[in-house]
């Protein structure tokens, strides 16, 4: 069975500083990895994904994530945080093997708070 762990319930960072939101995964095969962001009273918005290729993936709003197979991690990063980045962030994994089943397994989420 596949699983995702987000070890931090909340991350606090000052505006302008770099931010990192951690994610580790467990899946039998090569994983497909995703990051989503959720703003209050809104659905999840796709940020970026890793399928194959370059371990550093760039996404929306200046976010990037680094896939590390040996550490089974997919941490989300941004060089300079904005107050507007404050939201709930979810890491998700999908095992690409098999046919049909395409559902994502999500972590429990990390609340990012960027202070002005």
């Amino acid at each position: 069975a596949q699983s995702v762990a987000q070890p931090e319930d909340q991350v606090n960072v000052a505006e302008g500083n770099p931010l990192t939101v951690k994610c580790t995964y467990s899946v039998s095969g090569n994983p497909y990895l995703f990051w989503y962001v959720q703003y209050p009273n809104r659905g999840l918005q796709f940020l970026l994904k890793y399928i194959t290729g370059d371990n550093l993936v760039k996404g929306s709003y200046g976010f990037e994530a680094e896939f590390n197979k040996s550490q089974t991690s997919f941490h989300l990063k941004k060089p300079s945080a904005l107050v507007s980045d404050s939201a709930l962030y979810f890491c998700a994994v999908r095992d690409p093997r098999g046919t049909g089943r395409r559902a994502l397994t999500f972590g429990s989420g990390t609340r990012l708070q960027v202070q002005p």
Partner: protein
């Protein structure tokens, strides 16, 4: 491109009552998902449709939950009777494609329906 639409946005019911949620996916998206998101947790899949067929409903509490996707477009999710622990946000998502690289396609989520069971 219009996003995933869901209604209602909010619903409050008494336990043992029934409730239904509606979802209209992005046009042309073959795959539709219903997720349940309990406060403080990540979304959990309830059911996945591909066109109008069920692909995965292994985590759907079938004694009280049901879902359908007639004609392979809109979908409804029903709870009957509701329990207190069903209080959650119900998210609908869709993705395009059927075969091959579809596993890598991202899912697009609707705004969700917040259900409160009293």
């Amino acid at each position: 491109e219009a996003g995933v639409a869901q209604s209602p946005r909010y619903k409050i019911i008494e336990k043992r009552q029934s409730v239904a949620f509606w979802c209209n996916p992005i046009s042309g998206h073959a795959t539709l998902y219903w997720y349940q998101q309990i406060l403080g947790q990540g979304p959990k899949l309830l059911i996945q449709f591909q066109n109008n067929g069920v692909v995965d409903d292994s985590q759907l509490p079938k004694d009280r939950f049901s879902a359908e996707r007639l004609k392979g477009v809109d979908s409804t999710l029903k709870i009957q009777p509701a329990k207190l622990e069903d209080s959650a946000v119900y998210l609908c998502a869709s993705s395009r494609g059927l075969a091959g690289g579809e596993a890598g396609h991202e899912q697009f989520f609707g705004p969700g329906t917040r259900l409160t069971v009293l």
